[in-house]
Chain length 207, copies 3
Protein backbone atom coordinates (compact mmCIF):
# COMPACT_ATOMS: atom_id res chain seq x y z
CA UNK A 1 0.00 0.00 0.00
CA UNK A 2 2.83 2.35 0.96
CA UNK A 3 4.79 1.19 -2.09
CA UNK A 4 1.75 1.59 -4.33
CA UNK A 5 1.28 5.21 -3.21
CA UNK A 6 4.98 5.87 -3.69
CA UNK A 7 4.80 4.22 -7.11
CA UNK A 8 2.05 6.61 -8.22
CA UNK A 9 3.98 9.62 -6.91
CA UNK A 10 7.17 8.35 -8.55
CA UNK A 11 5.70 7.77 -12.01
CA UNK A 12 4.08 11.22 -11.88
CA UNK A 13 7.35 12.88 -10.92
CA UNK A 14 9.38 10.90 -13.47
CA UNK A 15 6.90 11.71 -16.25
CA UNK A 16 7.17 15.42 -15.40
CA UNK A 17 10.97 15.23 -15.33
CA UNK A 18 11.00 13.49 -18.72
CA UNK A 19 8.66 16.08 -20.21
CA UNK A 20 10.85 18.96 -18.96
CA UNK A 21 13.97 17.44 -20.52
CA UNK A 22 12.04 16.90 -23.78
CA UNK A 23 10.91 20.56 -23.80
CA UNK A 24 14.51 21.71 -23.70
CA UNK A 25 15.21 19.60 -26.80
CA UNK A 26 12.47 21.23 -28.84
CA UNK A 27 9.94 18.39 -28.83
CA UNK A 28 6.28 18.85 -29.59
CA UNK A 29 3.45 17.94 -27.23
CA UNK A 30 3.30 14.33 -28.39
CA UNK A 31 7.05 13.97 -27.92
CA UNK A 32 6.76 15.24 -24.34
CA UNK A 33 4.05 12.68 -23.57
CA UNK A 34 6.09 9.86 -25.06
CA UNK A 35 9.36 10.83 -23.35
CA UNK A 36 7.51 11.36 -20.06
CA UNK A 37 5.81 7.97 -20.32
CA UNK A 38 9.07 6.23 -21.30
CA UNK A 39 10.85 7.84 -18.34
CA UNK A 40 8.15 6.80 -15.90
CA UNK A 41 7.32 3.30 -17.15
CA UNK A 42 10.53 2.43 -19.02
CA UNK A 43 12.43 0.97 -16.07
CA UNK A 44 9.73 -1.55 -15.26
CA UNK A 45 9.25 -2.34 -18.95
CA UNK A 46 12.95 -3.10 -19.53
CA UNK A 47 12.97 -5.26 -16.38
CA UNK A 48 9.89 -7.25 -17.43
CA UNK A 49 11.09 -7.74 -21.03
CA UNK A 50 14.46 -9.02 -19.74
CA UNK A 51 12.78 -11.31 -17.20
CA UNK A 52 10.09 -12.43 -19.66
CA UNK A 53 7.48 -11.28 -17.11
CA UNK A 54 4.37 -10.76 -19.25
CA UNK A 55 1.95 -9.02 -19.46
CA UNK A 56 3.72 -5.73 -18.74
CA UNK A 57 2.28 -3.67 -15.89
CA UNK A 58 1.06 -0.78 -18.05
CA UNK A 59 -0.52 -3.15 -20.55
CA UNK A 60 -2.73 -4.77 -17.92
CA UNK A 61 -3.22 -1.43 -16.08
CA UNK A 62 -3.56 1.08 -18.90
CA UNK A 63 -4.59 3.84 -16.48
CA UNK A 64 -0.90 4.25 -15.62
CA UNK A 65 -0.37 5.49 -19.17
CA UNK A 66 -3.04 8.14 -18.68
CA UNK A 67 -1.38 9.25 -15.44
CA UNK A 68 1.99 9.72 -17.13
CA UNK A 69 0.48 11.51 -20.15
CA UNK A 70 -1.44 13.82 -17.82
CA UNK A 71 1.68 14.51 -15.77
CA UNK A 72 3.72 15.29 -18.90
CA UNK A 73 1.10 17.74 -20.19
CA UNK A 74 0.82 19.32 -16.73
CA UNK A 75 4.60 19.78 -16.61
CA UNK A 76 4.54 21.48 -20.02
CA UNK A 77 1.83 23.87 -18.83
CA UNK A 78 3.46 24.62 -15.51
CA UNK A 79 7.06 24.75 -16.76
CA UNK A 80 7.64 28.45 -16.00
CA UNK A 81 6.65 27.86 -12.35
CA UNK A 82 8.35 24.49 -11.92
CA UNK A 83 11.81 26.07 -11.98
CA UNK A 84 11.13 27.25 -8.44
CA UNK A 85 10.42 23.68 -7.37
CA UNK A 86 13.66 22.06 -8.47
CA UNK A 87 14.48 21.00 -4.91
CA UNK A 88 11.12 19.24 -4.64
CA UNK A 89 11.78 17.39 -7.90
CA UNK A 90 15.15 16.13 -6.73
CA UNK A 91 13.58 14.85 -3.51
CA UNK A 92 10.65 13.14 -5.26
CA UNK A 93 13.03 11.67 -7.82
CA UNK A 94 15.18 10.25 -5.00
CA UNK A 95 12.10 8.71 -3.34
CA UNK A 96 11.04 7.32 -6.71
CA UNK A 97 14.45 5.76 -7.32
CA UNK A 98 14.25 3.82 -4.05
CA UNK A 99 10.55 2.93 -4.45
CA UNK A 100 11.17 1.65 -8.01
CA UNK A 101 14.15 -0.36 -6.78
CA UNK A 102 12.16 -2.06 -3.99
CA UNK A 103 9.28 -2.80 -6.40
CA UNK A 104 11.75 -4.28 -8.89
CA UNK A 105 13.30 -6.49 -6.19
CA UNK A 106 9.83 -7.74 -5.24
CA UNK A 107 9.16 -8.70 -8.88
CA UNK A 108 12.46 -10.58 -8.99
CA UNK A 109 11.64 -12.38 -5.72
CA UNK A 110 8.18 -13.34 -7.00
CA UNK A 111 9.73 -14.86 -10.13
CA UNK A 112 12.23 -16.82 -8.06
CA UNK A 113 15.42 -15.69 -9.83
CA UNK A 114 18.81 -15.85 -8.08
CA UNK A 115 19.84 -13.21 -5.54
CA UNK A 116 22.21 -11.16 -7.75
CA UNK A 117 19.50 -10.98 -10.42
CA UNK A 118 16.94 -9.80 -7.84
CA UNK A 119 19.26 -6.90 -6.97
CA UNK A 120 19.86 -6.19 -10.67
CA UNK A 121 16.10 -6.28 -11.36
CA UNK A 122 15.67 -3.64 -8.68
CA UNK A 123 18.45 -1.41 -10.03
CA UNK A 124 17.21 -1.77 -13.62
CA UNK A 125 13.73 -0.68 -12.53
CA UNK A 126 15.24 2.30 -10.75
CA UNK A 127 17.58 3.61 -13.43
CA UNK A 128 16.44 2.46 -16.89
CA UNK A 129 13.62 5.00 -17.17
CA UNK A 130 16.14 7.84 -16.99
CA UNK A 131 18.42 6.06 -19.44
CA UNK A 132 15.62 5.75 -22.01
CA UNK A 133 14.82 9.45 -21.54
CA UNK A 134 18.41 10.38 -22.30
CA UNK A 135 18.65 8.04 -25.31
CA UNK A 136 15.46 9.54 -26.80
CA UNK A 137 16.87 13.03 -26.19
CA UNK A 138 20.18 12.03 -27.84
CA UNK A 139 22.35 12.45 -24.76
CA UNK A 140 24.79 10.09 -23.08
CA UNK A 141 22.69 8.73 -20.22
CA UNK A 142 23.32 10.89 -17.14
CA UNK A 143 23.19 7.83 -14.94
CA UNK A 144 26.35 6.53 -16.62
CA UNK A 145 28.27 9.70 -15.89
CA UNK A 146 26.86 11.25 -12.80
CA UNK A 147 27.06 11.15 -9.04
CA UNK A 148 25.92 8.20 -6.95
CA UNK A 149 22.64 7.22 -8.51
CA UNK A 150 22.78 3.70 -9.87
CA UNK A 151 25.13 2.68 -7.06
CA UNK A 152 22.52 3.76 -4.53
CA UNK A 153 19.90 1.67 -6.34
CA UNK A 154 22.19 -1.37 -6.18
CA UNK A 155 22.97 -0.78 -2.50
CA UNK A 156 19.28 -0.27 -1.66
CA UNK A 157 18.37 -3.52 -3.40
CA UNK A 158 21.13 -5.37 -1.56
CA UNK A 159 20.07 -3.93 1.81
CA UNK A 160 16.42 -4.85 1.16
CA UNK A 161 17.32 -8.47 0.45
CA UNK A 162 19.61 -8.60 3.47
CA UNK A 163 16.82 -7.35 5.76
CA UNK A 164 14.38 -9.91 4.33
CA UNK A 165 17.01 -12.60 4.80
CA UNK A 166 17.35 -11.59 8.47
CA UNK A 167 13.62 -12.16 8.95
CA UNK A 168 12.48 -8.52 8.84
CA UNK A 169 8.95 -8.21 7.37
CA UNK A 170 8.62 -6.77 3.88
CA UNK A 171 6.84 -3.65 5.17
CA UNK A 172 9.48 -2.83 7.77
CA UNK A 173 12.29 -3.55 5.32
CA UNK A 174 10.66 -1.28 2.73
CA UNK A 175 10.42 1.63 5.18
CA UNK A 176 14.01 1.12 6.39
CA UNK A 177 15.36 1.01 2.83
CA UNK A 178 13.28 4.00 1.76
CA UNK A 179 14.52 6.14 4.64
CA UNK A 180 18.18 5.16 4.41
CA UNK A 181 18.27 5.17 0.59
CA UNK A 182 16.53 8.54 0.39
CA UNK A 183 18.89 10.04 2.97
CA UNK A 184 21.98 8.69 1.15
CA UNK A 185 20.78 10.02 -2.18
CA UNK A 186 20.01 13.49 -0.79
CA UNK A 187 23.43 13.62 0.92
CA UNK A 188 25.07 12.53 -2.35
CA UNK A 189 23.30 15.37 -4.19
CA UNK A 190 24.08 17.90 -1.46
CA UNK A 191 27.77 17.11 -1.13
CA UNK A 192 28.38 16.05 -4.76
CA UNK A 193 29.54 12.58 -3.81
CA UNK A 194 30.49 10.69 -6.89
CA UNK A 195 32.43 7.70 -8.14
CA UNK A 196 35.68 8.37 -9.93
CA UNK A 197 34.89 9.79 -13.37
CA UNK A 198 37.27 8.82 -16.13
CA UNK A 199 38.50 11.17 -18.80
CA UNK A 200 39.97 10.60 -22.23
CA UNK A 201 43.44 10.86 -20.74
CA UNK A 202 42.81 7.81 -18.53
CA UNK A 203 41.65 5.71 -21.44
CA UNK A 204 44.68 6.62 -23.51
CA UNK A 205 44.64 5.38 -27.08
CA UNK A 206 43.99 1.89 -25.80
CA UNK A 207 41.22 0.82 -28.09
Amino acid sequence: MLLYTLYLIAITAEAMSGALVGMRRGMDRFGLCLVGTATALGGGTVRDVLLGNYPLTWISHSNYVFITIGAALLAATLAPWLRHLQGLFVAVDALGLIAFTIIGCNVGLKLGVSTPIVVLAGAITGVCGGMLRDLLCNEIPLVLRQDLYASIALAAGGLYLLLLHWGVTADTASVAVLVSGFATRMLAVRFHWQLKVYSSADAGGAH
Copy 2:
Protein backbone atom coordinates in the same frame (compact mmCIF):
# COMPACT_ATOMS: atom_id res chain seq x y z
CA MET B 1 -5.85 -8.74 -48.43
CA LEU B 2 -5.95 -4.98 -48.93
CA LEU B 3 -3.97 -4.54 -45.70
CA TYR B 4 -1.50 -7.24 -46.70
CA THR B 5 -0.80 -5.48 -50.01
CA LEU B 6 -0.44 -2.17 -48.22
CA TYR B 7 1.85 -3.81 -45.67
CA LEU B 8 4.20 -5.01 -48.41
CA ILE B 9 4.21 -1.57 -50.05
CA ALA B 10 4.77 0.09 -46.68
CA ILE B 11 7.73 -2.07 -45.58
CA THR B 12 9.34 -1.55 -48.98
CA ALA B 13 8.93 2.23 -48.75
CA GLU B 14 10.07 2.38 -45.13
CA ALA B 15 13.16 0.25 -45.87
CA MET B 16 14.06 2.62 -48.71
CA SER B 17 13.53 5.66 -46.51
CA GLY B 18 15.72 4.13 -43.78
CA ALA B 19 18.47 3.32 -46.28
CA LEU B 20 18.45 6.88 -47.65
CA VAL B 21 18.82 8.36 -44.15
CA GLY B 22 21.65 5.90 -43.44
CA MET B 23 23.43 6.92 -46.65
CA ARG B 24 23.50 10.52 -45.54
CA ARG B 25 25.22 9.42 -42.30
CA GLY B 26 28.06 7.65 -44.10
CA MET B 27 27.02 4.04 -43.49
CA ASP B 28 28.25 1.13 -45.55
CA ARG B 29 26.03 -1.27 -47.47
CA PHE B 30 25.43 -3.53 -44.48
CA GLY B 31 24.46 -0.53 -42.36
CA LEU B 32 21.92 0.56 -44.96
CA CYS B 33 20.35 -2.91 -44.97
CA LEU B 34 20.15 -3.00 -41.19
CA VAL B 35 18.76 0.52 -40.80
CA GLY B 36 16.29 -0.12 -43.63
CA THR B 37 15.13 -3.38 -42.06
CA ALA B 38 14.86 -1.81 -38.59
CA THR B 39 12.81 1.07 -40.02
CA ALA B 40 10.45 -1.28 -41.85
CA LEU B 41 10.03 -4.05 -39.29
CA GLY B 42 10.96 -2.22 -36.06
CA GLY B 43 7.50 -0.89 -35.25
CA GLY B 44 5.90 -4.32 -35.31
CA THR B 45 8.86 -5.80 -33.41
CA VAL B 46 8.63 -3.27 -30.58
CA ARG B 47 4.86 -3.84 -30.40
CA ASP B 48 5.20 -7.62 -30.23
CA VAL B 49 8.03 -7.55 -27.67
CA LEU B 50 5.96 -5.22 -25.44
CA LEU B 51 2.84 -7.37 -25.85
CA GLY B 52 4.78 -10.65 -25.49
CA ASN B 53 3.32 -11.70 -28.84
CA TYR B 54 5.76 -14.40 -30.00
CA PRO B 55 6.99 -15.49 -32.50
CA LEU B 56 7.68 -12.14 -34.17
CA THR B 57 6.25 -11.71 -37.69
CA TRP B 58 9.60 -11.57 -39.49
CA ILE B 59 10.88 -14.60 -37.59
CA SER B 60 8.06 -16.81 -38.80
CA HIS B 61 8.02 -15.10 -42.24
CA SER B 62 11.67 -14.53 -43.00
CA ASN B 63 10.92 -13.49 -46.59
CA TYR B 64 9.96 -10.05 -45.19
CA VAL B 65 13.62 -9.59 -44.24
CA PHE B 66 14.67 -10.29 -47.81
CA ILE B 67 12.15 -7.74 -49.08
CA THR B 68 13.50 -5.01 -46.81
CA ILE B 69 17.15 -5.84 -47.61
CA GLY B 70 16.35 -5.78 -51.31
CA ALA B 71 14.53 -2.47 -50.97
CA ALA B 72 17.45 -0.94 -49.03
CA LEU B 73 19.98 -2.01 -51.68
CA LEU B 74 17.67 -0.77 -54.42
CA ALA B 75 17.39 2.60 -52.71
CA ALA B 76 21.19 2.85 -52.48
CA THR B 77 21.51 2.12 -56.20
CA LEU B 78 18.74 4.45 -57.26
CA ALA B 79 19.52 7.27 -54.81
CA PRO B 80 20.52 9.86 -57.45
CA TRP B 81 17.13 9.40 -59.15
CA LEU B 82 15.02 9.08 -56.02
CA ARG B 83 15.41 12.75 -55.22
CA HIS B 84 12.90 13.46 -57.96
CA LEU B 85 10.38 11.17 -56.27
CA GLN B 86 10.27 12.77 -52.85
CA GLY B 87 6.56 13.53 -53.17
CA LEU B 88 5.83 9.88 -53.91
CA PHE B 89 7.81 8.83 -50.83
CA VAL B 90 5.86 11.14 -48.57
CA ALA B 91 2.59 9.75 -49.92
CA VAL B 92 3.65 6.10 -49.58
CA ASP B 93 5.00 6.81 -46.10
CA ALA B 94 1.64 8.34 -45.12
CA LEU B 95 -0.22 5.29 -46.45
CA GLY B 96 2.23 3.04 -44.59
CA LEU B 97 1.71 4.92 -41.33
CA ILE B 98 -2.04 4.31 -41.47
CA ALA B 99 -1.70 0.71 -42.70
CA PHE B 100 0.79 -0.11 -39.93
CA THR B 101 -1.53 1.49 -37.37
CA ILE B 102 -4.57 -0.55 -38.48
CA ILE B 103 -2.49 -3.75 -38.50
CA GLY B 104 -1.20 -2.97 -35.00
CA CYS B 105 -4.76 -2.37 -33.74
CA ASN B 106 -5.81 -5.74 -35.19
CA VAL B 107 -2.97 -7.45 -33.31
CA GLY B 108 -4.06 -5.78 -30.09
CA LEU B 109 -7.70 -6.80 -30.66
CA LYS B 110 -6.65 -10.40 -31.36
CA LEU B 111 -4.72 -10.50 -28.06
CA GLY B 112 -7.70 -9.12 -26.17
CA VAL B 113 -5.95 -6.20 -24.44
CA SER B 114 -7.91 -3.17 -23.21
CA THR B 115 -9.06 -0.45 -25.61
CA PRO B 116 -6.41 2.19 -24.80
CA ILE B 117 -3.69 -0.42 -25.27
CA VAL B 118 -5.17 -1.43 -28.64
CA VAL B 119 -4.86 2.18 -29.81
CA LEU B 120 -1.33 2.39 -28.39
CA ALA B 121 -0.37 -0.89 -30.10
CA GLY B 122 -1.48 0.66 -33.37
CA ALA B 123 0.43 3.89 -32.84
CA ILE B 124 3.58 2.03 -31.72
CA THR B 125 3.47 -0.06 -34.90
CA GLY B 126 3.11 3.11 -36.95
CA VAL B 127 5.83 5.25 -35.41
CA CYS B 128 8.49 3.07 -33.73
CA GLY B 129 10.17 2.05 -36.99
CA GLY B 130 11.05 5.67 -37.69
CA MET B 131 12.16 6.15 -34.09
CA LEU B 132 14.60 3.21 -34.33
CA ARG B 133 15.95 4.61 -37.60
CA ASP B 134 16.68 7.95 -35.93
CA LEU B 135 18.25 6.34 -32.84
CA LEU B 136 20.59 4.24 -35.01
CA CYS B 137 21.50 7.39 -36.97
CA ASN B 138 22.16 9.27 -33.73
CA GLU B 139 19.40 11.84 -34.14
CA ILE B 140 16.59 12.91 -31.84
CA PRO B 141 13.66 10.95 -33.26
CA LEU B 142 11.87 13.18 -35.78
CA VAL B 143 8.52 11.85 -34.65
CA LEU B 144 9.08 13.46 -31.24
CA ARG B 145 9.67 16.87 -32.74
CA GLN B 146 7.82 17.08 -35.98
CA ASP B 147 4.43 17.86 -37.41
CA LEU B 148 1.35 15.73 -36.84
CA TYR B 149 2.61 12.22 -37.30
CA ALA B 150 2.19 10.20 -34.12
CA SER B 151 -1.00 12.13 -33.33
CA ILE B 152 -2.48 11.00 -36.64
CA ALA B 153 -1.57 7.40 -35.81
CA LEU B 154 -3.34 7.70 -32.45
CA ALA B 155 -6.40 9.31 -34.04
CA ALA B 156 -6.52 6.70 -36.81
CA GLY B 157 -6.37 3.91 -34.24
CA GLY B 158 -9.14 5.51 -32.20
CA LEU B 159 -11.34 6.02 -35.26
CA TYR B 160 -10.82 2.41 -36.34
CA LEU B 161 -11.94 1.08 -32.96
CA LEU B 162 -14.91 3.45 -32.92
CA LEU B 163 -16.07 2.23 -36.34
CA LEU B 164 -15.74 -1.41 -35.26
CA HIS B 165 -17.65 -0.59 -32.07
CA TRP B 166 -20.47 0.89 -34.19
CA GLY B 167 -20.75 -2.40 -36.06
CA VAL B 168 -18.89 -1.40 -39.23
CA THR B 169 -17.10 -4.40 -40.79
CA ALA B 170 -13.29 -4.55 -40.48
CA ASP B 171 -12.84 -4.14 -44.25
CA THR B 172 -15.02 -1.03 -44.48
CA ALA B 173 -13.47 0.44 -41.35
CA SER B 174 -9.98 -0.15 -42.75
CA VAL B 175 -10.80 1.65 -46.01
CA ALA B 176 -12.47 4.55 -44.18
CA VAL B 177 -9.51 4.96 -41.82
CA LEU B 178 -6.99 4.64 -44.65
CA VAL B 179 -8.68 7.34 -46.72
CA SER B 180 -9.28 9.78 -43.88
CA GLY B 181 -5.91 9.18 -42.19
CA PHE B 182 -4.04 9.51 -45.47
CA ALA B 183 -5.87 12.73 -46.33
CA THR B 184 -5.20 14.21 -42.88
CA ARG B 185 -1.52 13.33 -43.06
CA MET B 186 -1.10 14.81 -46.55
CA LEU B 187 -2.88 18.00 -45.47
CA ALA B 188 -0.66 18.18 -42.38
CA VAL B 189 2.43 17.91 -44.58
CA ARG B 190 1.10 20.38 -47.13
CA PHE B 191 0.08 23.08 -44.64
CA HIS B 192 2.74 22.37 -42.00
CA TRP B 193 0.20 21.62 -39.30
CA GLN B 194 1.95 20.85 -36.07
CA LEU B 195 1.51 20.64 -32.34
CA LYS B 196 3.05 23.37 -30.25
CA VAL B 197 6.82 22.84 -30.20
CA TYR B 198 8.57 23.80 -27.01
CA SER B 199 11.87 25.60 -26.82
CA SER B 200 14.48 25.86 -24.11
CA ALA B 201 12.92 29.14 -23.01
CA ASP B 202 9.65 27.40 -22.14
CA ALA B 203 11.38 24.79 -20.04
CA GLY B 204 13.31 27.40 -18.09
CA GLY B 205 15.92 26.08 -15.72
CA ALA B 206 13.30 23.87 -14.18
CA HIS B 207 15.15 20.61 -14.03
Copy 3:
Protein backbone atom coordinates in the same frame (compact mmCIF):
# COMPACT_ATOMS: atom_id res chain seq x y z
CA MET C 1 33.50 -27.04 -24.56
CA LEU C 2 35.71 -25.18 -27.05
CA LEU C 3 32.85 -22.74 -27.67
CA TYR C 4 32.24 -22.32 -23.94
CA THR C 5 35.90 -21.40 -23.36
CA LEU C 6 35.79 -19.02 -26.30
CA TYR C 7 32.56 -17.54 -24.95
CA LEU C 8 34.18 -16.74 -21.61
CA ILE C 9 37.20 -15.19 -23.35
CA ALA C 10 34.92 -13.23 -25.67
CA ILE C 11 32.66 -11.75 -22.98
CA THR C 12 35.74 -10.76 -20.99
CA ALA C 13 37.32 -9.04 -23.99
CA GLU C 14 34.06 -7.35 -25.03
CA ALA C 15 33.44 -6.08 -21.49
CA MET C 16 36.95 -4.58 -21.43
CA SER C 17 36.45 -3.00 -24.85
CA GLY C 18 33.11 -1.50 -23.72
CA ALA C 19 34.67 -0.13 -20.55
CA LEU C 20 37.51 1.51 -22.49
CA VAL C 21 35.06 3.24 -24.85
CA GLY C 22 33.02 4.40 -21.83
CA MET C 23 36.13 5.84 -20.17
CA ARG C 24 36.78 8.03 -23.18
CA ARG C 25 33.22 9.45 -22.85
CA GLY C 26 33.74 10.52 -19.24
CA MET C 27 31.67 7.84 -17.53
CA ASP C 28 32.01 6.92 -13.88
CA ARG C 29 32.87 3.46 -12.58
CA PHE C 30 29.24 2.31 -12.59
CA GLY C 31 28.83 3.50 -16.16
CA LEU C 32 31.88 1.49 -17.23
CA CYS C 33 30.46 -1.66 -15.63
CA LEU C 34 27.10 -1.17 -17.31
CA VAL C 35 28.52 -0.38 -20.75
CA GLY C 36 30.98 -3.28 -20.44
CA THR C 37 28.20 -5.69 -19.45
CA ALA C 38 25.90 -4.45 -22.20
CA THR C 39 28.68 -4.87 -24.77
CA ALA C 40 29.46 -8.40 -23.63
CA LEU C 41 25.96 -9.77 -23.00
CA GLY C 42 23.86 -7.43 -25.18
CA GLY C 43 24.10 -9.43 -28.39
CA GLY C 44 22.75 -12.60 -26.82
CA THR C 45 20.10 -10.60 -24.95
CA VAL C 46 18.77 -8.92 -28.11
CA ARG C 47 18.74 -12.30 -29.87
CA ASP C 48 16.83 -14.01 -27.06
CA VAL C 49 14.30 -11.18 -26.66
CA LEU C 50 13.61 -11.24 -30.42
CA LEU C 51 13.29 -15.03 -30.45
CA GLY C 52 11.30 -15.12 -27.19
CA ASN C 53 13.92 -17.51 -25.80
CA TYR C 54 13.46 -17.14 -22.02
CA PRO C 55 15.05 -17.15 -19.48
CA LEU C 56 17.98 -15.08 -20.77
CA THR C 57 21.42 -16.67 -20.35
CA TRP C 58 22.74 -14.17 -17.82
CA ILE C 59 19.54 -14.38 -15.76
CA SER C 60 19.89 -18.12 -15.24
CA HIS C 61 23.72 -17.87 -15.00
CA SER C 62 24.28 -14.67 -13.04
CA ASN C 63 28.00 -15.40 -12.66
CA TYR C 64 28.44 -14.10 -16.23
CA VAL C 65 27.43 -10.66 -14.94
CA PHE C 66 30.17 -10.80 -12.31
CA ILE C 67 32.71 -11.76 -14.97
CA THR C 68 31.81 -8.77 -17.14
CA ILE C 69 31.78 -6.36 -14.18
CA GLY C 70 35.17 -7.66 -13.07
CA ALA C 71 36.56 -7.33 -16.58
CA ALA C 72 35.25 -3.74 -16.90
CA LEU C 73 36.84 -2.71 -13.58
CA LEU C 74 40.07 -4.45 -14.56
CA ALA C 75 40.13 -2.56 -17.86
CA ALA C 76 39.66 0.75 -16.02
CA THR C 77 42.57 -0.06 -13.71
CA LEU C 78 44.86 -1.28 -16.47
CA ALA C 79 43.91 1.33 -19.08
CA PRO C 80 47.31 3.05 -19.23
CA TRP C 81 48.95 -0.28 -20.05
CA LEU C 82 46.25 -1.62 -22.35
CA ARG C 83 47.18 0.82 -25.08
CA HIS C 84 50.17 -1.37 -25.83
CA LEU C 85 47.89 -4.37 -26.32
CA GLN C 86 45.61 -2.98 -29.00
CA GLY C 87 46.63 -5.70 -31.45
CA LEU C 88 45.66 -8.37 -28.93
CA PHE C 89 42.27 -6.75 -28.41
CA VAL C 90 41.53 -6.72 -32.11
CA ALA C 91 42.42 -10.41 -32.35
CA VAL C 92 40.35 -11.43 -29.31
CA ASP C 93 37.45 -9.31 -30.58
CA ALA C 94 37.64 -11.09 -33.95
CA LEU C 95 37.60 -14.50 -32.24
CA GLY C 96 34.69 -13.34 -30.08
CA LEU C 97 32.72 -12.17 -33.12
CA ILE C 98 32.95 -15.62 -34.71
CA ALA C 99 32.37 -17.51 -31.43
CA PHE C 100 29.26 -15.38 -30.66
CA THR C 101 28.00 -15.97 -34.19
CA ILE C 102 28.35 -19.77 -33.95
CA ILE C 103 26.69 -19.77 -30.51
CA GLY C 104 23.82 -17.66 -31.87
CA CYS C 105 23.35 -20.05 -34.80
CA ASN C 106 23.20 -22.98 -32.38
CA VAL C 107 20.47 -21.22 -30.38
CA GLY C 108 18.50 -20.63 -33.57
CA LEU C 109 18.92 -24.28 -34.62
CA LYS C 110 17.77 -25.47 -31.18
CA LEU C 111 14.61 -23.35 -31.45
CA GLY C 112 13.88 -24.72 -34.93
CA VAL C 113 13.49 -21.40 -36.77
CA SER C 114 13.99 -21.18 -40.54
CA THR C 115 17.48 -21.11 -42.08
CA PRO C 116 17.71 -17.36 -42.85
CA ILE C 117 16.65 -16.60 -39.26
CA VAL C 118 19.32 -18.97 -37.90
CA VAL C 119 21.97 -16.99 -39.80
CA LEU C 120 20.44 -13.70 -38.60
CA ALA C 121 20.36 -14.98 -35.00
CA GLY C 122 24.08 -15.65 -35.30
CA ALA C 123 24.88 -12.26 -36.76
CA ILE C 124 22.71 -10.46 -34.17
CA THR C 125 24.59 -12.24 -31.38
CA GLY C 126 27.89 -11.20 -32.94
CA VAL C 127 27.23 -7.53 -33.61
CA CYS C 128 24.46 -6.22 -31.30
CA GLY C 129 26.71 -5.95 -28.24
CA GLY C 130 28.90 -3.42 -30.01
CA MET C 131 25.83 -1.58 -31.29
CA LEU C 132 24.44 -1.20 -27.76
CA ARG C 133 27.85 0.07 -26.60
CA ASP C 134 27.82 2.76 -29.27
CA LEU C 135 24.18 3.75 -28.61
CA LEU C 136 24.92 4.17 -24.88
CA CYS C 137 27.99 6.25 -25.75
CA ASN C 138 25.91 8.40 -28.14
CA GLU C 139 27.73 7.43 -31.31
CA ILE C 140 26.48 6.09 -34.62
CA PRO C 141 27.17 2.36 -34.24
CA LEU C 142 30.59 1.64 -35.74
CA VAL C 143 29.31 -1.65 -37.12
CA LEU C 144 26.97 0.29 -39.43
CA ARG C 145 29.79 2.33 -40.86
CA GLN C 146 32.94 0.34 -40.66
CA ASP C 147 34.90 -2.31 -42.50
CA LEU C 148 33.75 -5.89 -42.95
CA TYR C 149 32.41 -6.81 -39.54
CA ALA C 150 28.73 -7.66 -39.73
CA SER C 151 29.22 -9.10 -43.20
CA ILE C 152 31.77 -11.53 -41.80
CA ALA C 153 29.32 -12.56 -39.09
CA LEU C 154 26.66 -13.25 -41.74
CA ALA C 155 29.12 -15.19 -43.89
CA ALA C 156 30.39 -17.19 -40.91
CA GLY C 157 26.83 -18.11 -39.93
CA GLY C 158 26.05 -19.15 -43.51
CA LEU C 159 29.20 -21.26 -43.77
CA TYR C 160 28.47 -22.97 -40.45
CA LEU C 161 24.98 -23.99 -41.59
CA LEU C 162 26.32 -25.15 -44.93
CA LEU C 163 28.91 -27.39 -43.24
CA LEU C 164 26.26 -28.87 -40.93
CA HIS C 165 24.01 -29.43 -43.95
CA TRP C 166 26.86 -31.33 -45.64
CA GLY C 167 27.05 -33.68 -42.65
CA VAL C 168 30.11 -32.17 -40.96
CA THR C 169 29.93 -32.57 -37.16
CA ALA C 170 29.21 -29.48 -35.07
CA ASP C 171 32.69 -29.55 -33.51
CA THR C 172 34.52 -29.75 -36.81
CA ALA C 173 32.26 -27.10 -38.35
CA SER C 174 32.88 -24.79 -35.38
CA VAL C 175 36.65 -25.09 -35.72
CA ALA C 176 36.54 -24.59 -39.49
CA VAL C 177 34.33 -21.50 -39.17
CA LEU C 178 36.43 -20.09 -36.32
CA VAL C 179 39.67 -20.43 -38.28
CA SER C 180 38.33 -19.12 -41.59
CA GLY C 181 36.21 -16.35 -40.01
CA PHE C 182 39.07 -15.21 -37.79
CA ALA C 183 41.48 -15.15 -40.71
CA THR C 184 39.05 -13.18 -42.89
CA ARG C 185 38.43 -10.65 -40.15
CA MET C 186 42.13 -10.14 -39.45
CA LEU C 187 42.83 -9.72 -43.17
CA ALA C 188 39.95 -7.23 -43.39
CA VAL C 189 41.46 -5.22 -40.53
CA ARG C 190 44.99 -5.44 -41.93
CA PHE C 191 44.12 -4.39 -45.49
CA HIS C 192 41.20 -2.11 -44.66
CA TRP C 193 38.73 -4.11 -46.72
CA GLN C 194 35.34 -2.51 -46.55
CA LEU C 195 32.01 -2.34 -48.26
CA LYS C 196 31.23 0.79 -50.24
CA VAL C 197 30.57 3.61 -47.79
CA TYR C 198 28.00 6.15 -48.88
CA SER C 199 28.32 9.86 -48.40
CA SER C 200 25.78 12.65 -48.32
CA ALA C 201 26.47 13.32 -51.98
CA ASP C 202 25.25 9.84 -52.93
CA ALA C 203 22.04 10.24 -51.01
CA GLY C 204 21.33 13.58 -52.63
CA GLY C 205 18.31 15.43 -51.32
CA ALA C 206 16.22 12.37 -51.87
CA HIS C 207 14.37 12.20 -48.61
